[in-house]
């Protein structure tokens, strides 16, 4: 089958490539672009380890073909670091609150939490749990994941206030 031409923005950089239409976005990111932050967990749209942000939406990149993402703006966990390479707020809070054990689900958790806090900057704990329901942690470390996201919300709001 002929390859198709795709063009998209990934973590602020424009990317152009040829890809087979059946290529799933997660495979394109990891194998063609060497962006290995998004992980392959269940590969069946349950676990959320492959979550990336596409045009302001959290998406499971194992359940999207590369052609569907043609022309979009994608952010992965790599794109959530500060410009100087240091950890972004949510990443830092996951570290500080031990929001990970084995770490496999963490890129998906952080990328999803980023969008959740964009849409709802001051969530309740219940809203965090509902908003994170598409991401599974098989170490079952949910308590600290929720704590890290609540702390991220406080930190981001404090930064916003300080900037105003």
């Amino acid at each position: 089958m002929a390859k198709m031409h795709v063009k998209m923005t990934v973590n602020g950089k424009e990317v152009e490539a040829l890809a087979e239409p059946r290529t799933l976005l997660i495979h394109f990111l990891r194998e063609d672009l060497n962006i290995t932050g998004p992980h392959i967990g269940c590969e069946s749209s349950h676990c959320g380890a492959c979550t990336v942000d596409i045009d302001g939406k959290s998406v499971k990149s194992c359940t999207m073909f590369v052609g569907q993402a043609n022309g979009t703006d994608i952010t992965t966990v790599e794109g959530l670091t500060n410009p100087d390479g240091s950890l972004g707020v949510i990443q830092e809070m996951f570290r500080e609150h031990h929001g990970l054990q084995c770490g496999y689900c963490t890129p998906g958790m952080i990328t999803r939490a980023h969008r959740l806090l964009q849409e709802n900057p001051s969530p309740t704990e219940e809203e965090v749990r509902f908003g994170m329901a598409g991401n599974l942690c098989r170490c079952t470390g949910y308590q600290n994941i929720v704590k890290a996201i609540m702390a991220s919300a406080d930190m981001l709001n404090a930064q916003k206030e300080a900037a105003e």
Binding site: P21, R22, S45, G48, F65, G67, G134
Partner: protein, 277 residues
């Protein structure tokens, strides 16, 4: 899990998409959000040579609300249904149901059109659309035609839509002001299909009741609606229990599913009645 090879198409209009389907025949399938189709393609249970992505079709997007009806484009996502405050004011049961579908990531991408058109008895929107007496607009290469949701589902994955037709819009008559509503769903975990789910509208001397995942199609029972409209809750439950036909599967044996169906329906009726004014 890599799907078989296919050719990818992204038409710019419904007419172009319908033309592609008519020309490519059985080898082509349309792609909306893809959260039912892509998993089936990965398992090689859906076999196709052409994928027609509908994402650029603005004709199939947006929600229009008038005094008497609501029209929802088939490409409207569950997330957009939930976020639309005007829709929540006009037909609040839609937001209540959409919030119980899958998980946030799936709701950003999964569409109402895909949910109703696929014919999967596990999907929540078909039963809800039957409860609301919705009409589906389908478009082939000829003029579009209307099919009532209550006449759309023939058996699991078989519907009144022809292969070369695209479900473009959903038309819903607005329930009268003060109509009580509830969508109640029992599931094993987040993201699962319903073990049993019930959609109930009641008020102003009228009622409508539909059930999800308790037969190979959604179950709308006219007798159940009539009984509930006259205040006969027991008669309503009895009519529904007579109409459902659950199968034994990993969500439980038949007797368990009937038990859950009865519980879920009673909860939905209670909540709908408490909201009716």
């Amino acid at each position: 899990m890599i799907p078989g090879a296919f050719e990818y198409h992204r038409p710019a209009s419904v007419a172009e998409a319908a033309g592609l389907l008519s020309q490519l025949g059985d080898d082509a399938r349309v792609l909306a959000g893809g959260h039912s189709l892509i998993p089936m393609m990965k398992l090689r249970m859906a076999d196709l040579s052409h994928l027609v992505d509908l994402q650029d079709l603005d004709e199939m997007k947006g929600i229009k609300i008038t005094v008497s009806s609501v029209t929802i484009g088939a490409m409207v996502t569950q997330h957009e249904l939930i976020a639309d405050d005007a829709l929540a004011a006009a037909v609040p049961i839609i937001r209540e149901a959409a919030l119980q579908i899958a998980d946030p990531q799936v709701r950003y991408v999964g569409t109402i059109g895909g949910n109703v058109a696929n014919g999967d008895p596990g999907n929540d929107m078909p039963g809800l659309m039957q409860c609301l007496n919705a009409t589906y607009e389908v478009q082939g290469t000829e003029a579009s035609r209307m099919i009532n949701a209550r006449e759309f589902y023939e058996s699991a994955y078989f519907t009144a839509r022809e292969e070369e037709e695209i479900l473009t819009r959903i038309h819903i008559p607005r329930p009268a002001g003060g109509t009580g509503y509830a969508y109640e769903k029992q599931k094993r975990k987040i993201g699962d299909y319903a073990t049993a789910a019930a959609a109930v509208l009641v008020g102003g001397g009228e009622a409508s009741v539909a059930m999800t995942n308790l037969s190979d199609t959604p179950v709308w029972s006219q007798d159940a609606g009539k009984a509930l409209a006259s205040g006969d809750v027991e008669g309503c439950v009895a009519a529904v229990m007579g109409a459902i036909d659950p199968a034994d599967d990993m969500r439980g044996p038949v007797e368990f599913k009937k038990h859950v169906a009865g519980m879920i329906l009673r909860r939905a009726i209670d909540r709908a009645l408490s909201r009716a004014s």
